[in-house]
Amino acid sequence: MTDKALPTTARVLEMHRMMCTIREFDEQAGQALDSGLARGSVHQYVGEEAIATGVCANLAATDYIASYHRGHGHSIAKGVDPVGMAKELLGRTGGVCGGKGGSMHIADFSRGMLGANGVVPDGVSLAVGAAQAVKLLRQDRIVAAFFGDGALNRGPLFEALNWARVYQLPLLFICEDNLYSATQRTGAVTAGPGGVARAQSFDIVTETVDGNDVLAVDAAAARLTARIRDGGGPAYLYATTYRWYGHLAFDKGLYRDPAEVKSWRERDCIARIEAWLIGRGVDKAALAATREAVKRAIDAAYEAARAAPFPDKHHAFTDVQDIGGPAWA
């Protein structure tokens, strides 16, 4: 916090509430998978909440984001309703995608959330196109593309960086480096000086932040988004972080050194911001009350999801295509 005024307590309290909401949602997402209520792949964002929160605090409702398989946090931070998300996770009516996408395809266009994605790094590719559309239609929007360090060795990411810079698109790339590509340590399979250099080699402006420090993420995102809104072309935020759990909710993460996990848990983004707020004079009890209120809201979201009916079977064959859909075949 050197180049602008410190954020107001109200803003930080809001970010604290957001991080608590994301964490509670994903803790319960893991439980939903364990209990068999959720199916397939559930990638929890626990430990990384500061990045989605700090970036999205600098986006307008009309801005777009695109995400990846670990996408719940980005959705919530962009304003997607946790009730609709919980219903989607449980494959129920009223889910944001009608129960047809599940965790890896949560999207809500009414909130500018263009979707999580099951293929690395295709959310970035879609974000490039969204930014191209914004430019073609002369709209007053920017686009943010979240991706993990696992994307750093995929060709389409290089194509996206090149493309965004060539056409000077209003696009913020956000690399969330949690050190692991699924179960593989990314550093062991990555040549060169790493995730920031990837973008720098395309002459894209970059910033590196501690992704577990929401104030640092907020400040960097504020600088980069302002630059993009001013027509400065794409920018790249590189945020280091760590996921508390495995790649997937059922992955126990045994390939990681317990000391490493412990050291990162000690850098918990929520505990850190709570300490900061207490230093600002916020009452401990007020923070506990926030956590309690968030838990009640997320409990209610999952309760509503459990109570919601499964989609009518005919929806298996709706929205395939207008011409020549399954009813035709």
Binding site: V96, G101, V119, S125, G129, A133, Q321, I323, G324
Partner: protein, 334 residues
């Protein structure tokens, strides 16, 4: 009416759609300076500017991926993939994103885009520039697949593809670019999913599409010399294909031959034959036949390349073979 080439008809069609709808734009390699591999974009960048006719790097993943992103955010991109063989470089974005995004997202959004790929053998382009990949795209739920065989159909069907809210794979045959035909420049879009009965006949039905149409008509001429009457149906749209026209024709003739340039094994002809056999087996007077390429890459040398081509002679021979042999006349006793 006027006479124009397949490439000119395609160019005119895109120009008219871009005039009509400011959300339509095109992107791909070599569209501006070169005007496309066959001149099918000639002059359009000068008219519409470099943003709406976007020259891209050689980045098939991003050409396709960004088109999907732009399509779900309010524009209608026309993607030029230059050669169908390069479509494989963008297969993830076509199959996993364009085709499924509407479905996966519960119908929140559509991806109205056209994926243009030039297909087929032409003058020794060899194994990586000669493929016909229509069967792959037909196999993917969410995609519409169109393969026009004449300038007029290219003109009308490209318009329909651009106005379609589903992603459309639009397969243009390299051998057809320079061929000419009558086109009404004022004509509107042609309906997707409607075949064209090109030549009525009584003894057998030949279903084909794209450049094989020309060979089918040559075969029909040759067969007519021997008193055999071949009905020729140009499918034009492969998905969804026009069952009514095909079924009505086969009901009438009782015999089906499908001819296509792509590999016979697992080809789209197999689907047509299976559907016809399942639907109207009792109406068939002979086992349906496919005339198509052997399961081999396309070779370079002319005599080798010709081994992979479906010729008019092969089509005619297949038709003769399914008719009863009788010295008193080709159709005696049927």
């Amino acid at each position: 009416m006027g006479v124009m080439t397949y490439a000119e008809a395609a160019r005119l069609s895109l120009e008219q759609e871009m005039d009509r709808d400011p959300r339509v734009w095109a992107l791909g390699e070599d569209l501006g300076p070169e005007g496309g591999v066959a001149g099918q974009y000639r002059g359009l960048q000068q008219k519409f500017g470099p943003e709406r006719i976007l020259d891209t790097p050689i980045s098939e993943s991003m050409i396709m991926g960004s088109a999907v992103g732009a399509a779900i955010c309010g524009t209608r991109p026309v993607v030029e993939l230059r050669y169908a063989d390069f479509g494989f470089c963008a297969a993830d974005e076509i199959v996993n994103q364009a085709a499924k995004i509407r479905y996966m997202l519960g119908g929140q959004v559509r991806a109205p885009l056209v994926i243009r790929q030039s297909v087929g053998m032409r003058n020794g382009m060899a194994a990586q520039h000669s493929q016909n990949n229509e069967a792959l795209w037909v196999h993917v739920p969410g995609l519409v697949v169109i393969a026009p065989g004449t300038p007029a159909d290219t003109h009308g069907l490209l318009k329909a593809a651009i106005r379609c809210d589903d992603p459309v794979v639009f397969l243009e045959h390299k051998e057809l670019w320079a061929t000419s035909g009558e086109v009404d420049p004022q004509a509107g879009p042609l309906p997707i999913g409607v075949a064209r009965l090109v030549r009525p006949g009584a003894d057998a039905t030949l279903v084909t599409w794209s450049s094989t149409l020309g060979r089918a008509l040559e075969a029909a001429d040759a067969l007519a010399q021997s008193g055999i009457s071949l009905e020729v149906v140009d499918l034009r749209t492969l998905w969804p294909w026009d069952r009514d026209t095909v079924f009505a024709s086969v009901r009438k003739t009782g015999r089906l031959v499908v001819a296509h340039e792509s590999v016979r094994v697992g080809g789209f002809g197999a689907e047509l034959v299976a559907e016809v056999a399942q639907t109207m087996f009792p109406a068939l007077k002979a086992a349906p036949v496919r005339v198509a390429s052997p399961r081999a890459p396309v070779p370079y040398a002319k005599p080798l390349e010709d081994m992979c081509r479906v010729s008019a002679d092969m089509i005619a021979a297949a038709v003769r073979e399914m008719l009863p042999a009788d010295p008193s006349g080709p159709l005696a006793g049927t």
